[in-house]
């Protein structure tokens, strides 16, 4: 397993797209911090990047990588290796390399310019989002042999989490606005890793005061240490459960 992980990691880290992605993130975060007049504003702009671009790149790159290494996977499956080990090392390789480029591209500038609680939580959430979306990509890729369908499915999942889900939430909020929705909001946020990480970062920022009573509801729940641990547990739960689903599918898959 170690060998395969190492192979996957070195293969991806030499990939031009990953290098380009790292440089792109680095350039964006450096220029944002230099353009905005305060570090906290830079963090706020960076948040938008992390919530949209990081999941998108993670999900598409991982899906394509899995499809491109179909032959490699088939070859290894024919060897006396457990499928679980093979799939896990692919996941670790992908998640590790994308997380590494995220940490270099965004983590280092944030530590240089805004080494605050908000900055650290931003890095943490970005890393978790990267890993979650790698898991989602592997889930989408294992479903179908057709590359176009697989990429389509992963893009759809990204679209769902970054846009459609919020639309549904808005719809529900308006349909049931006569009812107390505090619990619903907290539960709903747990069902979308992008929403949850956005809320976690916003709660640490000054702008959370704008969120009024809704912000207070979230702060009461996620603002405490227990709440923070719960949020991290939920996000880790996302990684584990989605990866487990894809693993189950992969184990039974007819190559």
């Amino acid at each position: 397993m170690k060998k395969i992980t190492k192979y996957v990691l070195t293969d991806i880290l030499r990939n031009k797209i990953i290098i380009g992605y790292t440089i792109f993130l680095l350039l964006i975060s450096l220029s944002l911090f230099n353009l905005e007049d305060s570090a906290s504003k830079g963090l706020l702009s960076l948040l938008n990047i992390i919530l949209i671009i990081v999941p998108l790149v993670s999900v598409i790159f991982s899906t394509i990588y899995i499809y491109n290494s179909a032959e490699f996977i088939e070859l290894l499956v024919s060897q006396p290796l457990r499928r679980k080990q093979l799939w896990s090392s692919l996941f670790i390789g992908l998640a590790g390399s994308l997380a590494l480029s995220f940490l270099i591209g965004i983590g280092i500038p944030v530590i240089i310019y805004a080494a605050t609680d908000t900055g650290y939580i931003l890095i943490l959430m970005g890393t978790l989002l990267t890993v979650i979306f790698v898991a989602i990509a592997m889930f989408a890729a294992v479903f179908t042999r057709d590359k176009a369908k697989g990429i389509g499915l992963s893009i759809f999942l990204w679209l769902y989490f970054s846009l459609l889900f919020d639309g549904l939430v808005l719809f529900v909020l308006f349909q049931f606005q006569d009812y107390p929705l505090e619990k619903f909001m907290i539960i709903a946020s747990a069902f979308n890793p992008i929403d949850l990480s956005r809320i976690m970062v916003l709660l640490k920022m000054d702008t959370s005061a704008l969120m009024g009573y809704t912000g207070a509801v979230f702060r009461d729940f996620f603002g405490t240490n227990t709440g923070f641990i719960i949020a991290i547990a939920i996000l880790t739960g996302w990684v584990v459960s989605v990866f487990w689903l894809s693993l189950r599918k992969f184990n039974r898959k007819d190559m």
């Binding site: 706020l44 948040l47 938008n48 919530l51 949209i52 970054s162 846009l163 919020d166 639309g167 939430v169 808005l170 909020l173 308006f174 606005q177 929705l181 505090e182 909001m185 709903a188 946020s189 992008i194 929403d195 956005r198 809320i199 916003l202 000054d206 702008t207 005061a209 704008l210 969120m211 009024g212 009573y213 809704t214 912000g215 207070a216 979230f218």
Partner: protein, 412 residues
């Protein structure tokens, strides 16, 4: 010659009789306490207090005298008493350090309390750790100048207001610094007064709290970092010029909160980094011009209960939301402002945008209708909604628009 001497002696005599005496108080002087000196004085006398610590419980000033402190003598209330009570007209109190008053919500204990007097001057005092600072009730034409008030209360119940004025008229509150109190400056039923060049910061509730006080002006003050900003309520004829409202940041903090205000004028102020710059409720006939709104959460929140307000020639820059409102009925005018979010064009180059600007974003309308939607704050979804609403307005109020948006910021 004789006649001349006679006149001269006569003049000297007149002068001797009418001349105010100077009474000195201090360790080496005839009087050791201020109260004794006041008892011995008559109207028009001056009492000069040398440096020392005076613990005299309550000092009652019931004659028209001038009380001067040299090198800030300390008047200590021992955490039990009101320190100075002024009960005569034409009293001047200057140059004291007044500390540690008692705390009582029943009596409203203050460092200096003016009881129904005229023409009292209180200047250049340092007031530390007192319940109320300077308290004026039913007084007329008093001057409160260059005092420095600091309190250390922990809760709103445990602390009083810095400069508290009640049922007074023609007051001048100039150049004071107030911090750590419940309300920095408090006005209730105070008319024809001016609040000028004060600095009110880090107070627990409001920097300035203003109710039923008609025809007052506040000019060139700084209200910074107060618990809830500045509140002006149930008043008409207020002029607010060149003030700074800064960093009033929190769930219920406002630069200015205007409730039931009419016929007022807000000009030349700077609203920087507040949760809401101006919040208007039931306000009418107010002219808001030449102000700068920068880096606020909401630059202005105007409830539908406001009418005939004119908002013109202001700069709106870097605010998260420019204008928020809670209804579709708009009876206010927003013409000729500069909005940094304006994306229109100016073909004839007259510095006025050719298409109207709508300062209310769809998302701010949604939030106003359903606060729970704030859950989606800064999500991709809301950005897209706002963009589409800009192109095809459907939900935002039809009339809330700037018909002549300026292309360049005004120099304010």
């Amino acid at each position: 010659m004789n006649r001349k001497i006679f006149i001269l002696t006569g003049l000297l005599l007149v002068r001797f009789i009418t001349d105010a005496r100077i009474i000195r108080v201090g360790k080496q002087q005839q009087f050791h306490t201020i109260s004794e000196a006041i008892t011995a004085s008559v109207n028009g006398d001056s009492i000069l207090v040398e440096y020392g610590i005076y613990k005299e419980k309550n000092i009652d000033i019931n004659k028209s005298i001038t009380l001067l402190g040299m090198h800030y003598p300390v008047l200590d209330g021992e955490h039990k008493y009101q320190i100075i009570s002024i009960k005569a007209d034409h009293v001047t109190l200057k140059g004291f350090r007044i500390e540690h008053s008692g705390v009582s919500s029943l009596d409203d204990i203050a460092a200096i309390k003016i009881y129904s007097c005229r023409e009292v001057t209180i200047s250049d005092n340092i007031i530390n750790d007192t319940f109320f600072g300077i308290y004026s009730q039913s007084s007329v034409n008093c001057l409160i100048e260059n005092n420095r008030l600091t309190a250390f209360g922990k809760t709103e119940q445990q602390s009083g207001n810095g400069i508290h004025c009640w049922k007074s008229d023609s007051l001048r509150i100039i150049g004071n610094t107030v911090t750590g109190h419940r309300d920095g400056i408090y006005f209730e039923f105070v008319t024809n007064s001016v609040i000028w060049r004060n600095d009110s910061y880090k107070n627990m509730r409001y920097g300035l709290h203003f109710m039923f006080s008609n025809n007052d002006a506040y000019i060139s003050n700084i209200f910074r970092n107060n618990g809830a900003g500045v509140s002006v309520m149930f008043t008409h004829g207020v002029k607010m010029f060149n003030n700074y409202f800064e960093e009033n940041w929190g769930d219920a903090a406002y630069g200015i909160f205007l409730k039931e205000i009419s016929d007022s004028y807000i000009s030349g102020n700077k609203f920087l980094r507040n949760t809401s710059g101006i919040f208007m409720e039931g306000a009418s006939r107010i002219r808001v011009e030449k102000n700068e709104f920068k880096d606020n959460g909401w630059a202005m929140k105007i409830q539908a209960s406001c009418m005939d307000n004119v908002i013109t020639n202001n700069n709106f820059e870097g605010n998260t939301f420019d204008v928020g409102t809670n209804g579709t009925l708009v009876m206010n005018s927003f013409d000729r402002n500069y909005w940094d979010k304006y994306e229109g064009y100016d073909l004839n180059r007259d510095n006025i945008g050719d298409i109207p600007y709508r300062p209310v974003s769809l998302y701010s309308m949604i939030v106003e209708k359903n606060p729970a939607a704030m859950m989606l704050y800064r999500s991709f979804m809301t950005t897209l909604l706002d963009k589409s609403e800009k192109i095809l307005p459907t939900l935002t109020p039809e009339n809330l628009k700037d018909n002549y948006p300026l292309m360049k910021p005004l120099h304010l």
